[in-house]
């Protein structure tokens, strides 16, 4: 029932055994390994989130002590940000799809690519080992001097983040070189899929910003280990300086998280509207522009921190420079549907969902950028809701869309579309029920990172907790039918969505080990559906490959075994 059924050799079954996976240099297999790893991180972070929400169901102690709660939300954040969101789209879908979309046989440095994966695993392991060493609370921001006043666990978390940073840097570096040097003939910059543009922009941020979190956590490490007095006020250091260091990375990191989502959504909107993405050049270049501008606004996290007023004003002003192109992008995505031919398969549902949730995240971001309003809203649940609307409503929703989009290509199997639609609805409903009440209670004054709260916020907290359960059910349903599809799913066709990028038009499902038999030659843009009419003469699903790759050799007579599946 596996891939031998289609009689083809592909990247999943050309070589067998656990070693062929652990030592693979194939970007597709590395992508799949990342998928497994980040899914586990998401599961762990998600369970912690559910526990945190249950604790907040009522004021006072519900299921855990204050210390347990403080550690739970901290670990939830560290796992979700460093081990899940940052690698999610670039390392999973970027690794799987980017080289194929470029018409390349692999990334520029495959060995480095595998090394990045293991560095990521090691970093995550070091960070997790902090749990054994001692108490880790205080949130993912590690603000000094609190972070240096708690136990030695902080040494491990910072070391883990430092190591995971290297993984992120090396992945970004690899992708930048790949995009520059390995494009197929005819694939000019303005024919690139927007997914590539966004991953490219993301990689720039990864390369430029991540080293700074490296030096920041290194200094924090030294501060804790040797009391070097750079950040610790008791020794004459400046805690606000730490916040500058931290946000110089962590604000651009927000764009590491959201830019890939822009790319996925662009691809989905184009493909499922069967229409050119409106304002292609603007969407492409603004991603790069946002990547750079993202470095100039970090101080908007520090309006009440004690930084000088003049820098608050400057940071606030530049914040709007980013808001405007982002807003125009949303309009472009909506406009893509105009006079298109819109189909509502499950990946597209996520794209549409994204437009809704991300817009709310964006508008509330503008609100938080206003100097006077931020003073009231800073460090309240309003901020919590805002960044969940951007991170989860943006990145995670887009990642789910991308996963549903590329799943048939990755595994060669189709998932149950009805279940997928039910799950998408549950995720949408659950997400909004969880986080929308948090805007209101935040504006009412409910501070974040509170174990206990005053009774006037109880109703909102209850709604939020119930929402988290719905959201959890939706996410588990997704995990369920995707896993089922691997074993029992129907065989996926070559191009079930009628997409025009090379992974759909020039290679088999699942792709061949070397991606293509011959280097493809690109003759049109990624969304020039009107130049590819001939592909759609027989309806929605495209069943023929346009170019090289369909001549993949048939599988030799070895009996089919299952170890090559995920």
């Amino acid at each position: 029932m596996s891939h031998s059924a289609n009689g083809m050799v592909n990247y999943l079954n050309h070589d067998k055994g656990i070693k062929s996976w652990l030592f693979t240099l194939d970007h597709k297999r590395i992508g799949i390994m990342y998928l497994v790893a980040v899914s586990l991180a998401f599961l762990a972070g998600g369970i912690l989130a559910l526990l945190v929400r249950i604790e907040l169901l009522a004021p006072g102690e519900t299921i855990m002590s204050a210390d347990a709660y403080n550690q739970s939300f901290t670990l939830h954040a560290v796992l979700m940000i460093f081990a899940f969101i940052i690698p999610a789209i670039p390392a999973v879908m970027g690794n799987f799809a980017l080289p194929i979309q470029l018409g390349a046989k692999d990334v520029a440095f495959p060995r480095l690519n595998l090394a990045s994966f293991y560095i990521y695993l090691i970093g995550a392991a070091i960070a997790m080992s902090a749990l054994i060493v001692g108490r880790i609370d205080g949130g993912w921001t590690f603000y000094t001097p609190y972070s240096t006043s708690i136990g030695d666990g902080i040494l491990f978390v910072t070391a883990g983040v430092f190591v995971m940073g290297f993984s992120s840097i090396l992945t970004g570096l690899n992708f930048i070189v790949t995009v520059h040097k390995m494009r197929a003939p005819g694939l000019t910059w303005n024919r690139l899929p927007l997914f590539i543009w966004s991953i490219y922009a993301t990689s720039i941020v990864q390369v430029l910003a991540t080293p700074v979190i490296g030096i920041t956590v290194l200094l924090l490490f030294l501060e804790k280990a040797f009391q070097i007095g750079i950040f610790d006020p008791a020794l004459g250091g400046d805690p606000v300086l730490f916040q500058h260091f931290f946000w110089f990375y962590s604000h651009p990191a927000v764009y590491i998280m959201i830019l890939p989502a822009f790319g996925v959504v662009s691809d989905l909107m184009g493909t499922f509207s069967r229409h050119q993405v409106s304002g292609y050049k603007f969407v492409a270049l603004s991603s790069v522009a946002i990547a750079f501008l993202g470095f100039l606004v970090w101080g908007h996290h520090m309006f009440v921190s004690g930084q000088s007023a003049v820098s608050s004003v400057v940071f606030s002003l530049i914040t709007y420079l980013i808001g405007i192109p982002t807003g125009v992008k949303v309009i472009n995505w909506v406009q893509t549907m105009y006079k298109g031919s819109v189909q509502f398969k499950s990946p597209m549902l996520y794209a549409i969902m994204f437009l809704f949730t991300f817009s709310i995240g964006g508008f509330t971001g503008i609100m938080l950028g206003v100097l006077a309003i931020d003073i009231h809203l800073h460090d309240t649940y309003f901020v919590v809701a805002h960044f969940h609307y951007v991170m989860m409503g943006g990145n995670v929703i887009a990642a789910l869309g991308g996963l549903h989009y590329w799943w048939p290509k990755m595994t060669g199997k189709l998932y149950n579309e009805t279940q997928a639609k039910i799950a998408a609805f549950l995720v949408f409903f659950g997400f909004n029920l969880t986080f929308f009440p948090q805007f209101i209670m935040g504006a009412q004054g409910m501070p974040r990172r509170y174990y206990d709260y005053l009774p006037q916020y109880e109703g909102y907290h209850q709604l939020s907790t119930y929402g988290s359960w719905v959201l959890g059910v939706g996410l588990f349903l997704i995990a369920y039918y995707l896993l089922v599809s691997v074993f029992k799913g129907k065989k996926a066709g070559l191009n079930p969505w009628g997409a025009l990028t090379l992974e759909w038009t020039h290679t088999t499902t699942p792709p061949d080990h070397h991606n293509f038999l011959e280097t493809p030659v690109v003759t049109r843009g990624a969304y020039d559906f009107h130049l590819a009419r001939h592909l759609f003469e027989h309806g929605g699903e495209v069943t023929e490959l346009e170019g090289m790759g369909d001549g993949a050799s048939t599988l030799p007579e070895t009996p089919a075994t299952e170890d090559a599946t995920v």
Binding site: P211, G214, G229
Partner: protein, 224 residues
Amino acid sequence: MSTPHSDQPAHVKHYFVSSEQQFDAAKMGMWLFLVTEILLFSGMFVAYTIYRSWHPETWAALSTALDWKLGGLNTIVLLGSSFTVALGIHHIQKGNKKGLIINLILTFLFAGVFLVVKYFEYSAKIEHGLLPGAAFDPHGISYGFDYATYNVPYGPQFFSIYFVMTGIHGFHVLVGMGLFAWITRKAIRGDFSAEYYTPVENCGLYWHLVDIIWIFLFPLLYLI
């Protein structure tokens, strides 16, 4: 795994179209890596700038605690090693393998000298309690000079920055020595030729960057 095109030399990986593409990609990757190094060090330069602008009197007082003669010697040593790396690349570009090997060994030795000098500098500081942060405790008299006069406010910060900056830099020198040992071995084995010397070129780029960082550290810490 690799299925090189029959018309390509052995060093070209199967996923590259040509040796040229492979060389360009490797070099671009290296430059990107260098940028990450620059940004890594930038954090320390920021800390330096901020604390210097807050406490200029401390900086003026304590830069005299560092020995400019040793720092200057190390500057010349590192410049020399950069020079030998450049010479090595020049030789291999012309196909002179022996010239490459000699220059690589020289570079390795220069790096060693740098670290030895650094060792003497550090031990003098440690002996007199010129240590980072909470450990800062200048004491002792040497050559009739009382080190206790270095006990000025924010002295701990100066030495924190000094040790972290030179420490990270020294770590890079150590890594560089490892890299040069590795490529010297490859060079002796005969891996490089006028057609293929990408690792030499990239190690060289790394080494020049280490040199450049020192070019800034020297005046900032020792002189002004």
